[in-house]
């Protein structure tokens, strides 16, 4: 574990833009050590990474200029556990509908997502959602100008679905070490999604990359 971590898993939070602080609070509350990630050097010794909510177009630009794309691509390919919420989900998807043509995506999960699927902010909402693997009552899920998952490949496990004007759509999925939600578990005080992500990190060995 990292310095000052004293046995806690070091989980990076991509800190270029978005609700980084809310994720850091949630991670700390489930016993992990949140580490802000802004530069390639920050990616060393992480046991996992959270890509937070924010504006996916902005995050896409800042990822490119910060030089994080290539090393993070390599880490994800090597099996780094990643939790992506909202914009994070968009950045991890294979294909984005209604995004910008130049929008960057890691393509780590075999899903097609539709950006701003519910329309503008006045259509944002919160709702009770049953999430597979979360024991107890439904999760109170906050959807902010949220995307939905239009298609999921055979390797993708759908964890939660909701009824939308477009029909039933997946809003939480898992594929290997990658978990995504269209909603924002970090905006409530319910920590079960973060708990599920952190406790699911099987290898206690941090993923290492060579820092130039």
């Amino acid at each position: 574990m990292g310095e000052g971590g004293a046995g806690r898993l070091r989980i990076g939070v991509l800190a270029l833009q978005g609700d980084v602080a809310a994720h850091a609070t949630a991670l700390a509350e489930v016993g992990a050590l949140p580490v802000p990630v802004r530069r390639p050097a920050d990616l060393g010794d992480l046991a996992g990474l959270v890509i937070p909510g924010g504006e996916s177009t902005t995050l896409s630009l800042l990822l490119s200029s910060s030089g994080i794309v290539e090393p993070l691509d390599a880490l994800i390919a090597a099996g780094l556990p990643v939790l992506g919420t909202c914009a994070g989900l968009i950045l991890l998807a294979r294909e984005v509908v209604d995004g910008r043509p130049d929008q960057r995506s890691f393509g780590a999960m075999d899903i097609v997502v539709r950006r701003n699927a519910f329309g503008r902010q006045v259509s944002s909402f919160e709702s009770d959602v049953v999430v597979a693997g979360c024991p107890g009552p439904p999760v109170r899920a906050v959807f902010i100008r949220a995307p939905v998952i239009e298609e999921a490949g055979p390797a993708v496990e759908v964890l939660a679905e909701i009824d939308t004007p477009m029909g039933c759509r997946a809003v939480a999925c898992r594929q290997g070490a990658i978990t995504v939600t269209a909603f924002h578990p970090e905006l409530t005080t319910d920590r079960r999604i973060h708990e599920m992500f952190v406790s699911g990190i099987k290898t206690p060995h941090p993923h290492k990359i060579a820092i130039r």
Binding site: E55, T58, L61, L62, S124, F125, R145
Partner: protein, 293 residues
Amino acid sequence: MTQEKATARVKRGLAEMLRGGVIMDVVTAEQARIAEDAGAVAVMALERVPADIRRDGGVARMSDPALIEAIKAAVTIPVMAKARIGHFAEAQVLQALEVDYVDESEVLTPADEAHHIDKWAFAVPFVCGATNLGEALRRVAEGAALIRSKGEAGTGNVVEAVRHLRSILGDIGALAAAPREERFRWAKELAAPVDLVEEVAGAGRLPVPLFCAGGLATPADAALVMQIGAEAVFVGSGIFRSEDPARRARAIVEATAHPTDPEIVAKVSTGLGAAMPGLEVAGLETRLADRGW
């Protein structure tokens, strides 16, 4: 599973997503595209930037809905628009246009000298300006889902924004450190509801995000206010009144994302061309920050 819209959490939630970002004033669809290309997290659609409102004088009102629609159609990021202080009918129009945030703004000419808009009555979230903690909490009590410093818009001079930020953050720190029994005196002196004063004292922060606005013109200005404690920045005249708006916009986005990395701020500040011409605050005829209470 019923969907509940327009809760405080949903309204404040969008502001949470804008943290670490730059919200840019735009007056045309073309400028909105430039802003989005440069990495803006949102745009503020208006007919004139504050520097021009200041120069032209007269009554400044809500923008033409046609302009707001054109800007909404041009970009995929959130679109904000301004209503006059107290002008709830303008806010109703903006809500009907489905803007993502309404700015009840001192940059426009106030419509009501005694009452701000009852923002709880709206589904659309509101951002309001504040110069001190009492003003910020009165706006939150009225339903604002996001607070920004007022600064002194249209001047290219960051001094007032810094003053307002330091005042709000300084008082939050002092309040959080004060003994419990002093919270009632704080509420009285701030002219703010005691339950909000209690909430701030306990959390050590506002109940809503705190952004910075008013007079930002350079990447270093953004890095300054982010390090002081702003959670995102609004840039008004500073971008499209400068020599090279696209480059300056991009540079301010980078500086806002990396405020504590002076090497990055130095790199993006290099060869940006002329910033907007600045104004000395002491020489101003109209102090926009004095509007509202």
